[in-house]
């Protein structure tokens, strides 16, 4: 009896501690929940993938390895970039079903400019080619977005219909443009944006520089926030909470940097690079577990201590992170972002407050189109090719990532960082199941189930908070 009581009071006390912590740091519970889910998914897949190894043990897992995590980040970037835009679209009570087809269409158009138009004319490798390829995707994407937006805002056709039509029509255009064939190879400089070539890897030094700069930014942001609030003598967060926040943020950045800096280049690429740049390969003993290369006799072999390069951050991951930062800024610090949320909360009130809601709608769709263009560049550059099926069903993954990230389809609620985490969570589940050699059909079942469950849990939480 007594023990039961004391354990009860201990639970109450720890609950109180958690509440104090959350209140002081002003952290969003749902984001913590998502981080928890992400961690759970990662650990589960790590253990499971370890168990199916020939020499199974808890530590032979494949998921929590630099190689897998690095690949995971690169694979997430294209969807993540579009998800940041989809947050704003859905917050404004609209939807864009056309982003996947748009991505295919834009990637094909960008590839055609490189391969069929400028390549033969300027000669392969001319610097204008990659610029024109990128510009084609971004400008066309923005224009298609404006088109979607004008149909929605000014002709008052529901965006679901406008973009459903777009989903069907744009993929048709992509097919016609490409005549059903793969357009390749693309410009080599253009390919850097995809993260599949060594030039697109930052390397450990610059990755550390960026990581430390990000930490400095976090601290600066917290300090300037305090200064602002002190200017008007508003209540401040307790100092310990600020320190905890800064530490958690910096630790996450540094840990990520450490992980990407631990992923070595593939064997063949190190060899190629050494040969191309006349780097002497040290002599060493062959070891098939090693990541470095050595000379054993006149053979180049894998070894433990030899020539090795590490990747660091890949360009598409940096693009996605930058887009995330910029979009967070747009959503929370600009008039435009404020209007999007106000329109989502009460479109009539926003209109009566003098906001030009139609213009805001067009701008949001234009932004979505621009981001679809950016994702088209990332996807086609990574593949070094464009096909009319490149973005197939991407719209579903983008919307799923956004919704898993806490954006409400009813409008008015959603965060960019939530969508980024949602994209990462979904990609984690997919890659995890690929590691377990589960068939694609099974992956679809799980992803679909996770989407529905995530929204259900979110609803439960919101009802309890009310």
């Amino acid at each position: 009896m007594a023990t039961e009581q004391s354990s009860k009071s201990a639970t109450a006390k720890s609950e109180g501690l958690i509440r104090t912590f959350l209140k002081a740091t002003e952290l969003d519970v749902r984001i913590l929940g998502m981080l928890g889910a992400l961690l759970l998914v990662w650990c589960t897949f790590d253990v499971l993938s370890g168990l199916i190894q020939p020499n199974a043990s808890i530590f032979s897992g494949l998921f929590l390895t630099p190689r897998n995590l690095w690949t995971l980040l690169v694979q997430t970037s294209s969807i993540a970039v579009m998800a940041t835009g989809m947050v704003l679209v859905i917050v404004m009570r609209q939807i864009d079903l056309s982003v996947g087809s748009m991505l295919s269409m834009l990637a094909v158009a960008g590839a055609m400019v490189q391969v069929f138009m400028l390549g033969p004319w300027l000669g392969v490798g001319h610097p204008i080619i990659w610029v024109a390829g990128v510009a084609t995707c971004l400008v066309l994407g923005t224009l298609v977005g404006v088109f979607n937006g004008v149909l929605t805002a000014y002709l008052q056709i529901p965006s679901f219909i406008v973009t459903l039509g777009g989903l069907i029509a744009y993929s048709g255009i992509a097919f016609l443009l490409a005549s059903g064939v793969t357009i390749a190879p693309l410009d080599q400089t253009y390919d850097i944006i995809g993260g599949g070539v060594p030039q697109s890897w930052l390397g450990p030094m610059w990755s550390w520089v960026l990581g430390l700069a990000a930490c400095a930014l976090i601290v600066f942001g917290i300090l300037s926030g305090r200064k602002q609030r002190r200017r008007f003598s508003f209540p401040l967060r307790p100092v310990w909470a600020e320190i905890v926040l800064a530490s958690i943020g910096s630790a996450a950045v540094l840990l990520t940097t450490y992980v990407v800096n631990s992923y070595p280049w593939p064997f063949g690429l190190i060899k190629q690079y050494a040969q191309d740049h006349n780097v002497t390969i040290p002599v060493g003993d062959a070891n098939s577990d090693g990541n470095a290369i050595c000379m054993a006799g006149d053979q180049v072999v894998r070894c433990m201590d030899g020539l090795v390069y590490y990747t660091g951050y890949a360009v598409p991951v940096l693009i996605a992170l930058m887009v995330g930062a910029v979009m967070t800024f747009v959503a929370t610090r600009t008039k435009f972002g404020r209007y999007i949320y106000a329109i989502g909360g009460n479109p009539e009130a926003a209109e009566l407050a003098g906001i030009n809601t139609r213009m805001v709608t067009v701008k949001v769709f234009a932004l979505m189109g621009f981001l679809a263009g950016l994702s088209a560049v990332i996807s086609s550059a990574r593949l070094d090719a464009a096909t009319n099926a490149l973005g197939q069903s991407n719209e579903l993954y983008v919307i799923a990532a956004t919704v898993i990230g806490g954006t409400s389809l009813a409008g008015g609620i959603g965060t960019v960082y939530g969508a980024l985490l949602g994209a990462l969570l979904m990609q984690s589940i997919q890659s995890g199941m690929q590691l377990l050699n589960l068939p694609a059909a099974f992956q679809n079942i799980v992803v679909g189930t996770v989407l529905v469950m995530a929204v259900f849990v979110d609803q439960l939480y919101r009802r309890r908070v009310k």
Binding site: F232, F329, E348, E351, L352, G354
Partner: protein
């Protein structure tokens, strides 16, 4: 005499063949409160939404300080200093009081970003004057009570130095104390020379606060009277029977 601050002349609005407002003329002078009375569906709110730019008129003209103006959306109305507090409390439910107060006219830092801190400071100042009990500055409007929402809506309208204020049943959601607060506010705004159109069902509120009252019935103007010259019963007769009192203004 000077031209009226606002003159609505021969305004007509139809919705699908039904004449919601039929050839109605009203006007408003600086520092004056004009009450608009009538049954539900008499056309009061529709008339006022013409002035605030929410509806388009089919006929008639709008004059401000004697000059004809075109008001075709809420932004036009705001450009002429017309602010409206709507019956349905037009607040964005998902953002906080400060964001609602400044919606459409946000304060910006010198970098062009939102100056949330400055907006919150000003919101605390205005709300402190209007409703000293209000402390929920960080919560979305959705979680506020009816009275709190109403005070946010009123604060929003007075924050921007309106010249012409339209209040559509401003006390509908309020308790007695808050209603008195709104009455004090109306007196204060009158002193500042602001013209106010006040729509209200409560005849006593109108008798207490207004200088003149215009009564509408079935989309038509029954008449406009000086409140001092008539009794409650006269106005009731106008509302219910559409009957002109003997001593019309």
């Amino acid at each position: 005499m000077d031209a009226p601050l606002v003159e609505l002349r021969n305004i007509s609005v139809s919705f699908g063949g039904v004449k919601a407002v039929d050839d109605v003329s009203v006007n408003l002078y600086p520092g004056e409160v004009v009450g608009l009375l009538g049954h539900n569906g008499a056309g009061k709110s529709t008339l006022i939404k013409i002035l605030s730019g929410a509806y388009k008129r089919d006929g008639g003209k709008i004059f401000i300080n004697g000059e004809e103006v075109q008001i075709s959306n809420p932004r036009d109305a705001k450009a002429y200093g017309i602010e409206t507090i709507y019956q349905a409390l037009a607040l964005a439910d998902n953002v906080d009081a400060a964001a609602n107060l400044y919606l459409g006219r946000e304060l910006k830092t010198r970098w062009g970003t939102l100056d949330d801190v400055a907006m919150e400071a000003e919101t605390r100042r205005v709300m402190g004057r209007l409703n000293p009990n209000f402390t929920r500055f960080k919560e979305p409007a959705k979680s506020l009570s009816g009275g709190q929402r109403q005070s946010v809506a009123i604060a929003r309208a007075i924050l921007f130095n309106a010249r012409i204020l339209i209040m559509d049943e401003p006390t509908a959601a309020l308790g007695p104390q808050e209603t008195r607060m709104v009455a004090d506010l109306i007196h204060e705004l009158k002193r500042q020379g602001i013209g106010i159109f006040l729509i209200d069902h409560d005849i006593h509120t109108v008798m207490d606060l207004c200088d003149r009252a215009s009564v509408m019935k079935n989309g038509k103007l029954v008449g406009t009277v000086n409140v001092k010259d008539v009794t409650d019963d006269d106005i009731l007769g106008m509302i219910i029977l559409g009957k002109q009192p003997e001593k019309a203004a």
